[in-house]
Structures are given as C-alpha cells and as structure tokens.
C-alpha cells in the first residue's frame, strides 16, 4: 500500500505571498521522514501540500509537481477529495469527532469512501485498525463510548486508527505529539516505528530528539527572515543531519546554536 513521493520544484503561495520556495525532495516508501525547522519556516505548509489540505485556506495554490508513484497530485482533473483518501493526515491536536463513538470514529473515513460495509467486515476493520494503532486493548470494552472521553494520547492514537482504516498510501503527521505527555508521546513514537512497515510516513516535529528517534531521513527547512519564503536547506539520512550536516545552518539548528 505504501507509495513513493517525489516533489519537483514546488512553490506554495497564499495569494501573492510565497510561503515555500523551490522544494525538491524524494521520500522512499516504507520509511519515516521528519521535517524539522524553526516556527514559520513552511514545513507544515509544505506537509499540507502533500495531501492538498492547504487548499482549505482561500487563495492557497502551488506551482510544481507532487508525484505519488509517478501520478501528479496537482495534475488536471485530479480531485483533492480523492487525493486525501490516499494520503491520510494526523493533526497537532487530537481531533476525534466528539459526537461519534470510538467505533464510528474509526469507521468514519471508510463509510465515506466505500459502499456498504457488512457488519462483520466493519468489525474486522475496526479491530485491525485499532490494533494497528496500539489502542485495541485499551478500548475494546468501550467501543460505543464517545471518543472524546479518552485521554489525549489515546485520542491521538484513535485519530491514527481512523487514518489507517482508510488504508492510505501515505500518512502525514503534523506535530502529532506536541499536545501529549511524555508517556503518550512514547506510545505514539513506537506506533510510528510500526507504521513504517506498511506506510510511507512523513512527520513534522519541533522535537529534535523525536526526529532523531523515529525518522530514517530528515529534512531541515529554514527562512531567511520574516516575509521571506521557507526553503528546504538540507535533506539527508537522519544520522547525517544530526552528526555531520553539510550546511552550516543545519548544524547551528540541530546543535541549538540557532539565530
């Protein structure tokens, strides 16, 4: 199910403002790639262009190509709705649907995209998704209780279960642990390690230890100043970025000597 991402000369604009400039990057299937960089450097914006979620804001547009196994996400006639069912997303703050039970939350995306689901198929998918998100044992006795009653970390894993239930090719995570306590963070990081066996995972994080722990490759983004577009400065194996970066800016950032 996992697919490769190739980005070619991507520029992202909000109206006339260029937020991200000239990104070229290739992400291998079945890997975890981390985006790091200071706030406002465009890494979240860039992440959102990978499933066209940035288009939710009026005036947002891109130039360039994002290829998913060779298919351009921005090609003519490509429906952003279809793109998003292939490229799942997990957000900064856990956002299960508050009015839905745990069960309905997990199945929410599936019910959208596919035809009727038989009860046994639904139960099977529910269990496999929740197991895939390391949540099954904690919630199996209260599947009909509201998802908003879980702890923050459980809610975030519920959101991951909801994302993988759709069987996407890629999972994007936008600072998935920034609202979680250390123990929940550890649970989600363990999960990310398991997810890469089946999915291409791209994660934005402000926590450099996290990037070092979970990712195979790391991309460092930076901006020259406020009002300037964000750029991809360096992209390499995580160990290289953290131990032996080729760019001075990268070294300053990962060693904490930034700015």
């Amino acid at each position: 199910m996992s697919k490769r991402i190739d980005v070619k000369d991507l520029n992202v604009y909000y109206g006339d403002f260029r937020a991200v400039e000239g990104v070229n990057i290739s992400v291998a299937p079945r890997s975890v790639t981390a985006f790091i960089g200071p706030s406002g450097c465009g890494k979240s914006t860039f992440l959102r262009t990978l499933n066209r979620m940035h288009e939710v804001l009026p005036g947002a547009r891109v130039e360039g190509q994002v290829l998913l196994d060779g298919d351009d996400l921005y090609g003519p006639g490509v429906d952003p709705v279809a793109v998003r069912s292939h490229v799942g997303m997990v957000f900064q703050r856990p956002n299960p649907f508050p009015t839905m039970s745990i069960r309905d939350n997990v199945l929410a995306g599936v019910k959208l995209n596919s035809k009727r689901l038989s009860k046994s198929d639904a139960d099977e998918l529910l269990e496999s998704s929740l197991r895939g998100a390391n949540l099954w044992n904690e919630v199996k006795d209260r599947l009909d209780k509201p998802g908003s009653g879980l702890s923050g970390g459980q809610q975030q894993r519920l959101c991951i279960a909801r994302a993988i239930a759709v069987k996407p090719d890629v999972i994007l995570m936008d600072e998935p642990c920034s609202a979680l306590d250390p123990i929940s963070t550890l649970a989600v990081e363990d999960l990310i390690n398991e997810l890469k066996e089946n999915y291409t995972v791209v994660i934005v994080t402000h926590n450099m230890q996290q990037a070092a722990r979970v990712s195979d490759k790391t991309a460092f983004f930076n901006i020259a100043g406020t009002g300037k577009p964000g750029k991809l400065i360096e992209y390499a194996d995580t160990s290289v970025i953290f131990n032996n970066p080729s760019e001075k800016a990268t070294e300053d950032y990962v060693s904490g000597r930034f700015g």
Partner: protein, 320 residues
C-alpha cells in the same frame, strides 16, 4: 473575616497598591447584582403566571353556557390551540430548511463578500415590524397566492389539507403560516450561522483529511457540533411563530376550525386575543386571559422539550 486583613494592612502603613484589596467587596457587590437580576427574572415570570392564573379562574369555573360558543372553555380553546399549532408548524416546516441552507451557504460555500452582504440582508428581515409583514401578507401575498390555492383545491383536493373550495381572497391559515415563516427565517438563520461558524476548524479538517467532500464534511463535523444550537434556534423561531399576533390578525380571515389549509377559517390564540380584547368585558376578558395562559403553557412546554432534546446527547456533545 475576608475583609479584615486589608484594613489591618492599611493601618500598618503598607503601600496603597497592596492595601487597596477591596476586590472581595467588589465581588460581593457584583454577585449581589447578578443574583438580584436573576431573581428579578424569576419574579417577573412568576408574577405573570400568577396574574394569568388568577384572572383566568372565572373562565374555568363559569357555567359552560356563558363562555363564548356556549359549550365551555375547553370547546372554546381547543380549536384555536390547534390553529396556533398549525400556523406555527407551517412556518417552521418552511423556514427551517431554508434557514439552515442559507446559514450553510453563508458560512461554508459563499465567497466572503457575498456572504457578508447576504448576512446583512437576513438581519434586515428581522428588523421589519410585524405589522408590515401583516400588511404585506394581507394585501399582496394573499392576493397573489390565491390562484395557487384554487389549483391545489382542484388538483390535490383529495388530500384533506387541500380540500376546496379554496378561499377567493387567499386569507387562509397557509398564507398566515408562510408570512410567519418569513418572520422566523432571520431568527433561525442568524443563530444557525453563528453556531456553524463556531465549528472547530480541527473537526472540519479531520473530516476533509479523511477524503470527505465539503457536504460530507458538513454532515460529519458541522451538523453534529451545531445540532443543539440549531434546535435552540428553531425553538426560538417557534416561540416567535406561536406568539406572533399582528401579522396573523391581519392576514388570516378567521373562522371555525377546518382541516383544509386553503379555505378561510381557523384562528390562533394570539390573534384571537388581540382581535377581541379591546371590546371584551367581564367573563369574556377572563376567557381571553385563560387563552393567554394556555399559550404561555404551550411555549413553556416547547422550551422544556427543546432542552430535553439537547441534554439527551450530552455525553456525545464534546463538552466532556
């Protein structure tokens, strides 16, 4: 106890900024004010209820033959209660879908400039006095719509609510209901719009990121979030429709209770009171006040049902 330490501090010559801790007293004043305001509302409500009950008692105890119609209070009130409910129901059936549609269009579909212009126009509708709606309904809408009633009576007359002969003037309960629907439209629309705007971006994005279309996103994220608020908005609209007096009094040519919506006939409580009160005296006044009491009870019941509907889903409301 709580006010003692600042005074001591003052005496000991502590700087004024620290000593001037009269906030406990400020809190007390504020809480007293708030409590008084709250009690005042209850007292007014209670006073109205007591007044209605006391003044209405003669109507309940009187000899049935003396009540208007000669068959007792129940026989008098039942048809106009039903008329009131029919008029309000027509208004809600028409206004609710339109209002929710308009509110959704303003909040989720329209370009920003059109949305704000449209919102402004809707708010203007709420500012038009009811007597103007009444005049418009009676002199324009009724005339224009009567051919439609004739057509309905001819072609759909087998359905009891459209049975003929249709009113030639068009001054029917259906016309009254349509006028009422225009009047409650701005209430439901502007409240729904506010609620829809409050839907957390997080939930909308959650739905979109799963591959939901905009309409699916609205069904998954916006409606569940907005449901209690929209129910409240509809109930406020219903309150207005039940109690609206002037417009109905002008539009409806009242009469005995009939099933048909396209014949003249039927009456609502509020219009009945308004039309008869100026020339009423004695037992007739008591009867009209008793009718008012019934309207009061209906409105109260509607609000309680609405609260019950809202609280039924509390566990899933996201408030926890």
């Amino acid at each position: 106890m709580t006010t003692a330490p600042p005074r001591q501090a003052e005496r000991a010559g502590v700087p004024a900024a620290i000593a001037a801790q009269d906030s406990p007293r400020g809190d007390k004043v504020f809480s007293t004010l708030a409590l008084t305001a709250g009690c005042l509302i209850l007292a007014v409500l209670f006073g109205v209820a007591v007044f209605l009950v006391v003044q209405a008692i003669p109507a309940f105890t009187a000899d049935p033959a003396d009540i208007q119609g000669g068959k007792g209070f129940l026989a008098y009130i039942a048809p106009i209660v039903i008329g009131t409910v029919i008029a309000a129901a027509i208004a809600l059936v028409i206004a609710t879908p339109i209002s929710i549609g308009v509110a959704l269009f303003i909040t989720h579909f329209a370009p920003r400039r059109i949305a704000s212009a449209l919102g402004y126009v809707i708010d203007l509708l709420a500012a038009i006095p009811s007597v103007i709606y009444g005049a418009w309904g009676a002199s324009f809408l009724a005339r224009e719509i009567s051919p439609a009633y004739v057509w309905l009576a001819e072609n759909a007359g087998w359905i009891p609510i459209f049975s003929g002969p249709a009113s030639a003037t068009g001054k029917t309960i259906l016309t009254a209901g349509i006028v009422l629907s225009v009047m409650v439209l701005p209430i439901i629309t502007s409240l729904s719009r506010e609620i829809f705007l409050q839907t957390p971006k997080l939930h909308e994005e959650a739905a979109l990121a799963l591959g939901a279309t905009r309409w699916e996103m609205i069904k998954m994220a916006v409606f569940p979030f907005a449901r209690p608020g929209v129910v409240s908005a509809i109930m406020l609209g219903l309150g207005r429709a039940l109690g609206e007096t002037m417009a109905v009094a002008l539009v409806l040519s009242s009469g005995a209770l009939t099933v048909s919506l396209v014949q003249s006939g039927n009456q609502t409580i509020a219009a009945e009171i308004a039309l008869n009160f100026p020339e009423a005296s004695g037992l007739k006044v008591a009867t009209l006040i008793a009718a008012g009491l019934v309207l009061f009870v209906i409105t109260l019941a509607v609000n309680m049902v609405a609260r019950w509907i809202i609280s039924r889903h509390k566990e899933f409301s996201g408030a926890n």
